[in-house]
């Protein structure tokens, strides 16, 4: 399967219990985020399964205060960092979209699947009610 590589950050810039958002497609809004939880790296698409909206309340703030859960700060959905499974909230039982990555010379490299997965028209949501293509 084809993919595009994006060098997100050096691994030593990702700390245990912290998350970082990235804007690999230069959209002006972070479309993926990475975190280290119990020593394991995870990279997820920044899109809540409930409404396909961004999770964070501000830059890099994707986690609960104790860093034990990923939280969608739109409606308070909570996700397990290790699997992306929603354990509380509107999308209970659904999962965040985990993205493949690799380590290369100390860098965290996102292997963005396909060439169109995140490169369609900019929308706030895949749902019809939230569909707002940009005008330009």
């Amino acid at each position: 399967m084809s993919h595009s590589d994006f060098f997100l950050c050096r691994m030593d810039e990702l700390a245990e219990g912290q998350a970082r958002g990235f804007d690999p497609l230069q959209r002006g809004k972070d479309s993926v985020f990475a975190l280290v939880h119990e020593g394991q790296v995870r990279v997820y698409r920044n899109s809540c399964p409930h409404l396909d909206v961004r999770l964070e309340y501000r830059k890099d703030r994707f986690l609960s205060a104790d860093a034990q859960l990923i939280v969608c700060y739109a409606h308070g959905a909570q996700f397990l960092p290790s699997t992306g499974e929603c354990v509380y909230g509107p999308c209970l039982g659904q999962r965040l979209d985990a993205l493949p990555w690799r380590l290369e010379e100390g860098w965290l490299v996102l292997e963005m699947p396909g060439s169109t997965a995140l490169s369609g028209p900019v929308e706030v949501s895949r749902l019809a009610i939230h569909r707002i293509p940009t005008r330009d």
């Binding site: 609960s64 739109a74 409606h75 509107p90």
Partner: protein
Amino acid sequence: MNILGLDALIFGVDDIQACTDCLRDYGLAAVAVDSNGGRFEALDGTAVIIRRSDDPDLPVAIGPAPSIRETVYGVANAADLDAIEDELARDRQVTRDGNGVLHSVDDMGFAIAFQVTVRKAYSAPDDLTNAAGHAPQRPLNQPGITLEMNATPRTLSHVVYFVPDAAKAEAFYAERLGFRTTDTFIGAGPFMRPAGSDDHHCLFMIQTPPHMKGCEHFTFHMGSGTEVLLAGTRFEQKGWTSFWGPGRHLFGSNWFWYFNSPLGCHIEYDADMDKHDDAWEARRAPLSADNSQLFLFNSKEKWAPGGPPPKHG
């Protein structure tokens, strides 16, 4: 029962600092705020109050922190409190705390409270429009806007709940507390105003599966649509994540702009809401993009012709 509207919303949170930053950046004034939380006031004294989620003085939480813990309504006087106490005590526990505040629970399990209102008079500029074909509202030579103009939340406007049974919830507020339904989204729920307020709604409820029960958002009234756009622009520039807006709702006619927040629900700016009395006939419409707003925009970084090309064009 002369319920005037919302006096305060109380949240139990897991990150006091983040919530403090959020509510200050939103434009509320911090009153007696420390590491255990505090009160964040609009110009008229209505407020959002945050506490640590394990604070034993808070009503029981509906879900995990952060979450709404109590909705406090203001009434005109002590006789109104007595009437509410008599009515609710017929079938549920009602307690009165040391400050004379009544505490009880609605039919969905949301903690509700009632107090003689904290709302006070305040001074803030009018929104003066020069509409062609009418006498100008602004004096000659008075600019309508300035770069430094104020955009401060004026009064707590409304709260929105996710509820598992909107019909039962509506009946409780209508029959037990004297609320009127102003409009209804079919399949979602009612917009309601208490008898002592002419605002289109101070409570809107959306029917959802039971596991979603909780607060969807709250908002304070700004002075105008311009103030919604300005305050939202400044809030976004401080790094807060826009969720929906800016735009203008159809039911209620209020301008809106919603943001994510560390309080576990959205925080909104609104302005210029319709006013109603009992002569109004409630409308009913299916919830759709067209029915929920007249128009919707996305903000973008400031740009002007002649300068560098717009970012993320």
